[in-house]
Symmetry: D2
Subunit: 163 residues, 4 copies
């Protein structure tokens, strides 16, 4: 079983530019995260874009959906900024890719900073992607949520089940 990882940026992959003092994107950290996790899964990593999810518009979201649709792997991880992760999950769900298990995940703190939750979340998302039935899910905070049963609580930074 091979898993496709679609990288879209988000806090996950932000790093610190020591000349400007700003956070920015360069390359994804997913490879080094998998190496640290001693991950032995067969994965294909594909960088779709490197953006802050607040800047992701419909066209960008459509590109992510398109990459899910054309993936030859049936288990797909999407690394994504947390702010609009649920919106992208919905866009993917509405594409009705009925034979795919798509798991979106991200981080509250950049992996490049010492105290990131990213490694925990990536381990979690990869595991859910192997065993959940086809569908679109968000994996954050050690939990998984169907795409239409979750929201991010902006005040606490936590993903919560709805209704």
């Amino acid at each position: 079983m091979r898993i496709r990882i679609l990288v879209t940026g988000g806090t996950f992959d932000k790093q610190y530019d020591e000349l400007t003092g700003r956070l920015f994107f360069r390359d994804t950290h997913v490879q080094q995260m998998l190496a640290r996790g001693r991950c032995r899964l067969d994965v294909a990593i594909e960088t779709v874009m490197m953006v802050d999810s607040l800047e992701l518009d419909d066209a960008g979201r459509e590109r992510i959906v398109e990459r899910c649709r054309s993936s030859t792997e049936h288990a797909i991880i999407v690394t994504h900024g947390t702010d609009t992760m649920v919106d992208t999950a919905r866009a993917i769900a509405e594409a009705n890719l009925s034979d795919r298990t798509v798991v979106l995940t991200g981080a509250m703190v950049p992996y490049a900073f010492g105290s990131s939750d990213g490694l925990f979340n990536l381990g979690s998302a990869l595991s859910f992607a192997q065993v959940l039935a086809p569908g679109v899910y968000v994996a954050m905070n050690g939990q998984y949520f169907p795409w239409n049963k979750v929201r991010k609580n902006r005040a606490s930074g936590i993903f919560e089940a709805t209704e």
Copy 2:
């Protein structure tokens, strides 16, 4: 759904004694790992023992089995040294706890050291424990293995499927 985490020690929880220069056990790091992962699962953490798994004998293994048997939670994580993780998995499986999903996990590098795989593995094990059917499993290297289909390759440090 509540998950019980049974802590038994292993590399996961080793730390460096700066006065003697040796590795030793004090308290488990599981709480701080869950905090770093922003984990919101309902978990009960129970330290059964703090040992190097090479020093774990039948009596010790029986204590771990006993704690799995008496757990009121049906999803159980056992943090364990990697060297004899498969042996403990077998001991638990032979106890025929037919309604429990038990997932053993560990680390190749102590969590207290910067470069540990522990956070990845814990995220992975917690995820598998929520969705796998009752049974006993090892979760390492991003994968899960039924207890009787896995061995640790001592030369590479990697868990491999057996036929």
Copy 3:
């Protein structure tokens, strides 16, 4: 010999706000840095302000000078953003505190991030402050510079000697 550490903020002490995704100041990290360095010097830590040094104006600079002047310790460290560190060094020098050794230092990467130069710089600055003759110095990149013989190269992020 007692050393006064005047904290003014700068990259040194920036941290990541996981709710907003922005860098901000809360408390200084100097205490935990000294603890990590197993520092046994007698130090008095005083937070003068917590600002990005690009936002430091003449009034703010005058407050720092004033804290140097009223310090009962003759060895003084000022932690400071790198962008205007040389300007503050000049302001302190122009106050003619002839019996004080004042060493300004900072970091290119926040201490809270894994890869910071802050701990190295703090060890360096504390050492120079113990042995340099009275005067005002910048300690960065493992070196010390008299206040009027140094500039920050903005393109490289490195402090260089001027003639």
Copy 4:
């Protein structure tokens, strides 16, 4: 001014062997420490040996003295295990290298582990080496000690002034 760094091993450079679970030496971490510190000093790094200082005998100590004697640089850092650092300092002092400033330093926790004091100590030692008068010194805990005025307190792990 060029500084010679003589590497002899010690806790500074220990790392974790994930196959055996033991601490061991491979290459020195001094280069990457200098890179993290954005150090711009002109340094020559020379690995004399990679040993636990408890295993260092008179012959080994003589090799370190010999490397100090034949150094063309007059400022010398010796990275060294803390347990017998003072013994090696004495051996170097007894060689009467009257035009050299030799500073021994080390760490209580390996640099490869997250929480090491090594970076602080290296920044400190490099700074003292630039400004102290010729002589032999130990730089630990943010302080410097003449070779004959210091001992390691084994119970606390701290270097203390004697008499």
